[in-house]
């Protein structure tokens, strides 16, 4: 039937010249069979674990500043940390819980960062020949990864110094106040310099990290205000952490 009514059907044929020939398809990569955690989810893990660490830093800074209230107040605060909730809770109960939480947060933060950094490196196998000019955010953003590594090594040294007293002149058995003052005594100025650099590094990490976490969680609004607040909070934390070692190094606290 169709044959006899062929004139009713409009048919179009396209003559493919050289110009309209189909492009040879670049063979697509085989799909990964293993389901991976999405990069967005890993970033959410980084944001939440980072937030935990920021709250810790605020509490840590507040505790440090008690050094200006004298040895008794500072040591008393340290003792209270170990006794809070007692006798309802065991000795060091709350503190141990906090420590476990911090270790989990740090582990999650670092694990996600490493996986994401590897994925990023994988996504650009060939680098640009021309130096890629940054058109956006500055130093703080670019130093997130290596800055994080530096902060990690700083935290290890810091724990050996102040918590376990291994590298501290006063050793483990001295009071927290004595350890702190001995750690930053003027003769150990190089240690103080190392601390100052590391704390500034933490501040830079937070400058990008604070607003970036909100962005990752989809909560970021009004970027100029948000970024300015992040910079302000980072600056406050940096100063709050720096005044204590500097005060000791310059002999204000003895």
């Amino acid at each position: 039937m169709r044959r006899y009514l062929a004139f009713l059907y409009v048919t179009a044929t396209i003559d493919r010249g050289k110009a309209t020939e189909p492009v040879t398809q670049v063979p697509s990569r085989p799909r990964r069979s293993r389901r991976r955690v999405s990069s967005n989810s890993l970033k959410a893990v980084m944001a939440v674990s980072g937030a935990v660490l920021v709250f810790f830093l605020v509490a840590h800074m507040a505790g440090n500043l008690k050094i200006f209230a004298g040895a008794e107040s500072f040591n008393g605060y340290a003792a209270w940390l170990r006794e809070v909730g007692y006798p309802l809770l065991p000795h060091r109960g709350v503190l141990t819980l906090l420590e476990v939480g911090l270790v989990v947060a740090i582990a999650a933060h670092m694990y996600s960062a490493i996986v994401l950094a590897r994925r990023a490196a994988h996504a650009r196998p060939v680098k640009y020949a021309a130096r890629v000019k940054s058109r956006a955010d500055g130093y703080a953003t670019r130093t997130m990864r290596w800055g994080g590594v530096i902060i990690f090594f700083f935290v290890i040294y810091h724990l050996l110094d102040m918590t376990f007293g291994v590298t501290n002149p006063e050793g483990h058995d001295a009071t927290p106040f004595a350890r702190m003052v001995a750690g930053f005594e003027p003769a150990r100025w190089y240690i103080t310099v190392f601390y100052v650099i590391s704390v500034v590094m933490v501040g830079l990490h937070l400058r990008h990290g604070l607003w970036s976490a909100l962005q990752t969680l989809g909560l970021a609004r009004r970027y100029p205000v948000l970024k300015a607040s992040a910079a302000g909070v980072s600056a406050l934390l940096t100063i709050g952490f720096l005044v204590v070692p500097l005060a000791i190094a310059f002999g204000v606290v003895k």
Binding site: V23, V26, S28, R29, R31, R32, R36, S38, S39, N40, S41, L42, K43, A44, L116, R119, A120, H122, A123, R124, P125, V126, K127, Y128, A129, A130, R131, V132, K133, S134, R135, A136, D137, T141, R142, M144, H208, W211, S212, Q215, T216, L217, G218, L219, A220, R221, Y223
Partner: protein, 248 residues
Amino acid sequence: MNLTLKVWRQSGPDDDGRLVRYEIEDVSPDMSFLEMLDVLNERLILAGDDPVAFDHDCREGICGMCSMMIDGVAHGPQKNTTTCQLHMRHYKDGDTIVIEPWRARPFPVVKDLVVDRSAFDRIIQAGGFISVPAGSAPDAHATPVPKLDADDAFDAATCIGCGACVAACPNGSASLFTAAKITHLGLLPQGQPERGSRARAMVEQMDEEGFGGCTNTGECTAVCPKGIPLDTIARMNADYLKASRKSG
């Protein structure tokens, strides 16, 4: 003006490729960047050489084909423009210009400066649409859209899928591209039924293609010829996390 070009030449996907130096004379400042390359190609053809392959189509900044990394900046030094809208008056006599293709594993080089951006198509296919009955056109006032939402949706919809965001991103992430489409459809009433599944499917496809994750550097939005803002990525993240929480 006379210029020195260092152009990435690569005969095919399996070739290693290299930067090749060309001296080009008598470039008019009125030429667009692509016209300058046209002149180079004419001279290469006359000399019996293989012309430089580069993508281009509309040459008025709306098709998203002319993808080039110019001196380490996607689409060159001018803000909010594509390569075809860049004019040679921004260069001066004696300048050296390095021209490279987009660099990302999901964007394999086809030839010279041409990359295959099919990965973007697959991200769109994963969820960049609305499933509606395609009957007759509805009345314009049948579905009210608040003016500000319409504006923001339109801003996001101006994405031309050129891939500059991926090229500029230190992580090779396609977040700005994906977020632009998720924002465009997620802000409009027609996009609501599939809002969650769309965000999940598109984000997961983006990962599947091998793009990196977003670290909020803002490099993408700085080179985007359409100025797609960073808050689209916040919307994508919010939609994605909400959808993931719901369905685990």
